[in-house]
């Protein structure tokens, strides 16, 4: 019962605000408000765009308004009926305007869908175009498309036998790779080689280092270059490396750190 007390205060405030203090006492109905509600309903019914959109709500408003227009002598009831009529007129208008806006949404969506599709297609085409252009840059090196990216090899014949230094032909190829990496800044390069036995391992290391140094010299950032020299051709990190040669893997960016295309 205690909980009721504060709520009763609120009720009292409500009743006061609704001008219900002089119940059962014939006070003048707010005729002004009635006329206002009547003219708003008439405006709604006269609007060809709106009138047909919420017929039931309009009917309800009409009924409520007629009830209020009877102007009962009980002032509280009269005020209540005027309030109901006003609310129902406002509800009918809001509903009708909602239906109109919903129709507009549908029409605009029909307009938006093809535009959005075109924009998507355009973006996709730009990405495809660049992808194609990039792989053309390396076409002379006959790269292999792999799951991780483009793979190319530099055969043993491209290196000086003793020193592991690059022959000019190798440099020509690495120039293409460096140019490619300058265009595709989101990509990294993995240099892989293997050598079975001490001597061959040392040679593989020298050759891998020579390739890395050359790319560094051509302006490729060190952090984009990874070197992996294995002790066996079976090692997964050396997969695809020719005997005595180098395999380069130009890796595609991971899905989650792909930079915006076309930059």
């Amino acid at each position: 019962m205690d909980a009721v007390a504060p709520r009763l205060h609120r009720l009292a405030a409500l009743l006061a605000s609704a001008a219900w203090l002089n119940a059962c006492h014939s006070a003048p109905v707010k005729e002004q408000d009635l006329r206002q509600a009547r003219s708003e309903l008439a405006a709604l019914e006269a609007d060809p765009n709106l009138a047909s959109r919420a017929p039931e709500a309009i009917q309800e408003a009409e009924a409520a308004l007629r009830e209020a227009e009877k102007q009962p002598s009980d002032a509280t009831l009269a005020a209540h009926l005027v309030y109901m009529a006003e609310r129902k007129v406002a509800t009918a208008r809001a509903l009708a305007e909602a239906r109109v806006a919903e129709d507009q949404v549908q029409a605009l969506q029909a307009q938006y869908a093809p535009l959005e599709q075109a924009a998507r297609a355009k973006a996709r085409a730009q990405i495809d175009q660049r992808e194609q252009w990039l792989s053309q840059q390396l076409a002379d090196l006959q790269p292999q498309q792999t799951a991780r990216g483009l793979a190319l090899t530099l055969g043993a014949a491209l290196f000086a036998t003793s020193s592991g230094a690059l022959k000019p032909e190798a440099e020509t190829r690495l120039d293409l790779v460096a140019d490619f990496l300058a265009q595709a800044r989101e990509r990294r390069v993995a240099i892989a080689a293997y050598g079975e036995g001490e001597l061959e391992y040392g040679r593989a290391q020298k050759r891998a280092a020579a390739v890395k140094d050359y790319l560094l010299g051509r302006g490729v950032d060190e952090e984009r270059i990874e070197v992996e020299v294995a002790i066996s051709s079976e090692a997964p990190e050396a997969a695809g490396a020719p005997p005595g040669g180098i395999r380069l893997l130009i890796t595609r960016p991971q899905e989650d750190d792909t930079p915006a295309p076309g930059g």
Partner: protein
């Protein structure tokens, strides 16, 4: 009438007789239930995003209707019951208005959003890249 059997009904009858301009006292329970339904319905439609004030008014009137009904039953007041009924009816009308208003605001917001998107897309199409 069973005035003798049920004391409170007897009181109600007396109250009825005393209220000069009262018509038959309506039981507010159905109106309160209808208001509760309308408020739930409005809440389901996430009305508070767009018509919080109207929904708050509806809830306050519903509370008022319940309190008035309870008090009227204690006091055997037919007038109180009628006021409870009216408050409940107004709560229902407020909730329905809140819902209609929210529908309109939501749809009109979607219209604005779509217009902006279309403008952006056709702008980037027409303007040279």
């Amino acid at each position: 009438m069973r005035i003798g059997q049920l004391g409170w009904l007897g009181g109600l009858g007396t109250a009825l007789a005393l209220v000069a301009c009262a018509s038959a006292p309506p039981a507010p329970d159905a109106a309160i239930a209808a208001a509760v339904d309308a408020i739930y319905h409005a809440e389901d439609a996430r009305v508070s995003d767009y018509a919080a004030q109207e929904l708050r008014t509806a809830r306050e009137k519903l509370d008022g209707a319940r309190d008035a009904a309870q008090k009227a039953r204690q006091d055997h007041s037919a007038k109180g019951l009628r006021q409870a009924q009216w408050l409940a009816e107004e709560a229902q009308a407020d909730a329905q208005y809140a819902e209609a208003k929210a529908e309109r605001e939501r749809a009109q917001a979607a219209v604005r959003e779509l217009k902006r998107s279309i403008e952006t897309l056709s702008g980037s199409d027409g303007g040279g890249t």
